[in-house]
Symmetry: D4
Subunit: 248 residues, 8 copies
């Protein structure tokens, strides 16, 4: 369904060699794939204030800096996840306003400061080792225009530390919960709040944690019905899903 | 922190044997667990229009009917999941307005007809064998006060069948996608819509599907960032999460 | 891009309210998903002589018979896999020329006898217990217009039995190999022939065969480079892939 | 090292054909295995008040009754686990004082009523479906001479229900926690009490619970340091370990 | 339920604006989570002589030293697990009395020398490679005020080496058994002693040991009923559980 | 290399149209697979006194009886494994001297009573539930001409029961050890004897035994170097391997 | 069946000591294995234009260069997979016309430029990280004499990017699809084309991708019947199978 | 049962304070574990010509050299497995006659040259990458006094290469087969020989080989009944088991 054959079709209609009905029949049998619809995606994203995202892991500092600089020319926020200090130094030279969120292992350039989320997103983590994943969720949600509050080191073995924050948690519109080891925290949080909970298993643990598998299975089997789950260590995904919910 | 010791505390304050500061200090060191806070949960649920839910599987028809009848006395909707025709016959005797949604394997009594969802929930399934799980999601979302539209048998190997519905899908506020076998559908749907997608792996398949594991892993690794996942065959959980999102 | 809006577009061109260029620009921005492209698939299949296929498992005899009878009205071959004798009896009443291939657990109606494969397909099985899967591959390939030759009970622990057939195997254009337990046969066959080998792990075995997992992993790690693999017990898929190759 | 050769050895010493040193040297090189030491075990058990235990599963009613009757002749308590009502009917004919604990699927004959545990054992379960496993732990601990208190249906998604019992829990000397699905309860309980917690994963759940694997992994990765774990559904083992601790 | 609102509540009672009954009713509906109950945990630990524990792995020498020095100011013992010689050098500068237990990979500062265990804890290991895990259990139990005796290199393939110690083993009040590879040792030891056995699977082995999974599964399936299990390589957890039992 | 072309080749040599050297060169380039070498296998087996073996599982009584009767005409012993009483009744009608070994689930016809093993084979089992697998090994070894001694219910948790037999075990030329649950017994036996040990994991157990996987992994990781392993529940294979060793 | 005994056989026929029939009988009973049939394989490969292939991984630069140079003397193409730049530098010194395909991590020497494939092979990849595997398939197919077209970065979450190429895809005779993460792309492509699809799971992903396992399972469960699968990251195998199909 | 109490016992018999019967009764109730039976093991080994074995992996060069030198003082052969060149240099200084078998990664000192095996051990490997494991088996068997012949690079995809050696294989008394990837070779070899086959899965492969798991499962499911299996990469164990068989 390239430009030429479509123009010929319209020209035939214009010249009345084809009736609209005949043209429609022909159109239906033309291969429709060649139109450059791919750009549509891109445009929709821009309109919605989604940040441009780079997975920095596995790329050279120069590559990250190059892509970052190119995306930075647009008006959107730019986010590079799983980034290193070395990659940040390369990025900063070309995008001086970019910041490095060391805990989150993320480089972020905030150019679009509009708030898009309708409420607050709470990010909860079980242990201090889960903080990098939690922070990746925080920076993602911030780059997508949300107000974020975090509650760290409130694991289930010291349940009172968590309960001490339950009023604050109940004020959030979406809650992200990051936990490794047994991954029990989302179930407890899910029971405390009346909003959607996005659970992020982390690879924190050893032995029978099997790099996050134990936490993942725990969360999938949560007895709290308001919990859904993203991939192990996927702080970005949790931040993205939560942002999308918070815009509704 | 039972009633008596608390009354004594207040009485001591009233009699001025304790200053408010002293009473506060005492309160802090009392065991606080004995108050019947459990009821709070229950009340909040009632206020929010959540249905009462019974997992019928593993219960006798008499047991299901008994619990159902008791819950039916309240004003909420009542839902029994994984139910059989035999269980329904027992329920109907005690709750004549209850319906049996055969495909969904659910018994439902709709007593509260208020719409609570702000938009439409779309439920998509890959194959005809995934329909029972999809229907469980449908009936759950309906019992929670949502308008639901479904799109069945639109698996990825015939991508045009799915694309034919993409405008309708894009009109939903939340999308649930049920798929077994390779579990690819949520990724494709996730790319077509700009709203949260709840993915439900189903145990449909054989051999290396390992009873839904293949679909589950596929969905957790979705390249679409707006996808989160619930347990295998958990249509109820998907309907619940989607409803919670749709109320926001 | 429903019928009406397209007709309006063509009508506007016809009335010269829009130039072909303007119409093209408009067309590009219309949602294109609503056209009923799904039918295209269907038509292509018919033209290519692919059989209509029903997965009989999990359907009632009446359901299988109903679908079978409907498909039988077309000129294509009709195949029902994982079928029972009881389902066949129901089918036979409505499609008297249908046959039951008991070993293959398949009901087949051959109405299109054209040969579409350019060569012979060889189907090899390791043990007698693998024969049902092998026969499913055989009947699928036959229903798709291929000449098929089978070689059963030629497992690797008695390598001479296999070698006794190596000239015949070498004459095939595609080879399907079904094996359970250690799944070693495709590697040996792959080394004997110079054509593509489709390996089908079967769930034959016990203990550490883990319902075909051992055979599946063995085949995926085949040291013969001309081997590719389908799902456990997927005789139908192997027959389908082999047929598609044999038509080229 | 049978009786005869030992007697000969002693006789040789008595007759002074061998010095004590020579006899010792000879003794060291004799095969020492033939003495019937096996009985020692048996005697120690009897002295310690351990019950005799029969795994009823897989045995006929007649077999269970026969073994039960034989053991009942001793003064110990007798316990048959994973038993059916039918097996109980056979047992009752031969041991009329035996009781059937239906929820626990156990037949028990209490003949030795001495209390051997120094404190109370608490048995906690997450959901109602976990009760059979919890009851197996209860009956085992009772048959081993312990006072037992149970707390059922206090899963982590309704944390207040659990907290309402925390004072009672804190009074136990050992705590057993049974939970399926995500298996999070032992971690929370472990944080609430200052005594050993025996965690029992149950096979309650579906899909990604993988018959108790998710709960098992969760418990092994517990962030509470006072938790140790027994096999899936092993209520008997938990009751046994807890009893052994409670005797110390 | 912050300080101010509670003070106001007590003040109202004092001023008799509220009766005790009315105050109780109000109290019940206040959010109770904000009180700083978290400190309770902490205090209980101090009273019980539990050591303060730092997981040194993944922290810089400076971080470990900083936390260690801060905790050392209290009167409790301090333990850093999974520590390196480099971390120890940093710690020693700030806590000169700290020792490095190289085999256990632990830094320990013993300031509270009271014996809290009522009997002896035996620590048994199968092979020399299991010693680091066993030593972590030893140092943990010692830091928690226990007398510990160890029995190393007494694996089941040389059963006489183990039997040579059976009298000594039988004298322990709790036994910890560390084993990799097939993890068989806890079952044998469990049969030799009449006290609780804490089994620690180690990641010692290769190939089908799958980093300790084989040993873990073996221990969970132990035919000795007095065995419970902790995570792979979790010497700390085993020492902690054993200490808690030994205090009872 | 069929009969005809070979005869032509020899004929050409006979007629001196080809020299022996030329014939050899031609022979090398002929396809050699068509000769019926398969029979060679068969003959070798007959000469060696191997029994004919039928896997009865999955066959009808009539099928088992038919194959059994045919094989019984030869002079070898005949063995049907995984057989039922019903299959035996059908066999007995056609082979009246066949016996049913109920525990072993085997039908055996001993026609060749020559002893072929040079020593004794010991068969050891851990628990009573492992006996069917052990008995399958016993009957296989007997049918292959070996003297067999068994030692049942000597699991590792009561090590003295095993040690009581260690002299008898040490007298065997090959030892088979069957164990489920943790599968520890082969390691202990391996340390007691100086001959090859064939370990058979059984599917006895529940929960984390994962149908014999735990025992299998344990045995593969045995710390005794004289242990090798066969498939889960493969008593036949163990008996076969042991017999082959015992003939050497 | 060595040279001498065969010559003797022929000589006996020539001297008429054996009739052709007798000679045939003798031949059948001679061990046939010693003839150097191994060379046959080699020759067939050479005739068919298959490239010589070296797995460079795990070899020193000198080793790779040595083998490469030796193979380069023949007229075939030479391919070294999983190669490094350092290995290439060593190869180039001895085979100056060899090229390094950096993306594909392959060294290739094209000496035989004949086209052997009858149509075009399309290589599709889901993400940019999958390109190394896709390029390995490309270079393999090219070295085997095929025309190859690639379509990269057309993952399923942006389905329009893929659809934009569907006409071009439909023109291929075989399609290779490389995808990591959820591995959904082969199913979609399989539905778009009417030719065999070779699916290559890649190890791209993290967490629950389990190094390609998720993608592998997804592809094995593909709902498109024309898909078969090779090992994770096996671009070479996919290129080889596709080439073999394309020659038919 | 230490020396002193036994001497006292014998002395009492000698002094006739105890009759032999009384002494026997006393002996039975003494703890028998303290005798140093452990040395028995050691002596038996020395008598049998078993080599002393050191697992060098994870030890420093100095440690390996120290242990090696100590063991070298005895008359047995000494073997260090998984050793490095650096460890060898340290060993050579203290045991100048020690050799380094680089391919086998083993240091060996042959001091006892007696042949103890009654026949030849054949060691077969599938690919060149399996040779280190095969060589470990070779050096182990040689150090245990066996004549060994090896057959390398005879994988199943080129079955004629293996068949070319079948006469030589048939001459062995025990066969060891090492294979990675699909692990099919033991089944084929098992069918060619009439002696025990020890299968060694190797970790050679990638992707779905899962570090040798695929080969392990394949071998456990071998359709050849004379195959038993050792751990992944356990060349030492295979050499040990084969040697033990070959001595019988």
């Amino acid at each position: 369904m390239d430009r030429d054959s479509l123009l010929q079709l319209f020209d035939a209609v214009r010249r009345k060699r084809l009736s609209p009905d005949e043209a429609l029949a022909k159109l239906r049998h033309m291969p429709f794939e060649d139109i450059e619809f791919a750009k549509v995606d891109h445009h929709r994203m821009l309109r919605n204030g989604m940040p441009e995202v780079i997975l920095a892991k596995g790329k050279t500092p120069a590559q990250v800096a190059g892509i970052f600089a190119k995306l930075a020319k647009q008006k959107t926020n730019v986010l590079a996840t799983r980034a290193t200090a070395e990659q940040f130094r390369a990025v900063r030279k070309r995008a001086p306003k970019a910041e490095f969120r060391e805990l989150a292992r993320a480089i972020v350039l905030l150019q679009d400061h509009r708030t898009r989320g309708k409420g607050k997103i709470a990010v909860v983590s079980a242990g201090t080792s889960d903080i990098p994943v939690a922070e990746e969720a925080v920076v993602t949600a911030e780059a997508m225009g949300n107000e974020v509050e975090h509650f760290y080191d409130v694991g289930v073995a010291g349940i009172h530390r968590l309960l001490a924050h339950s009023k604050a948690l109940a004020a959030a519109r979406v809650v992200i919960v990051c936990a490794g080891m047994e991954g029990a925290l989302p179930s407890v949080v899910g029971g405390l709040v009346g909003v959607p909970v996005i659970a992020v298993p982390t690879s924190v643990g050893y032995g029978a944690s099997f790099d996050g598998l134990a936490a993942l299975l725990g969360m999938l089997n949560s007895c709290a019905s308001n919990v859904s789950v993203v991939n192990i260590d996927n702080g970005f995904g949790a931040g993205y899903v939560a942002s999308m919910i918070n815009r509704l």
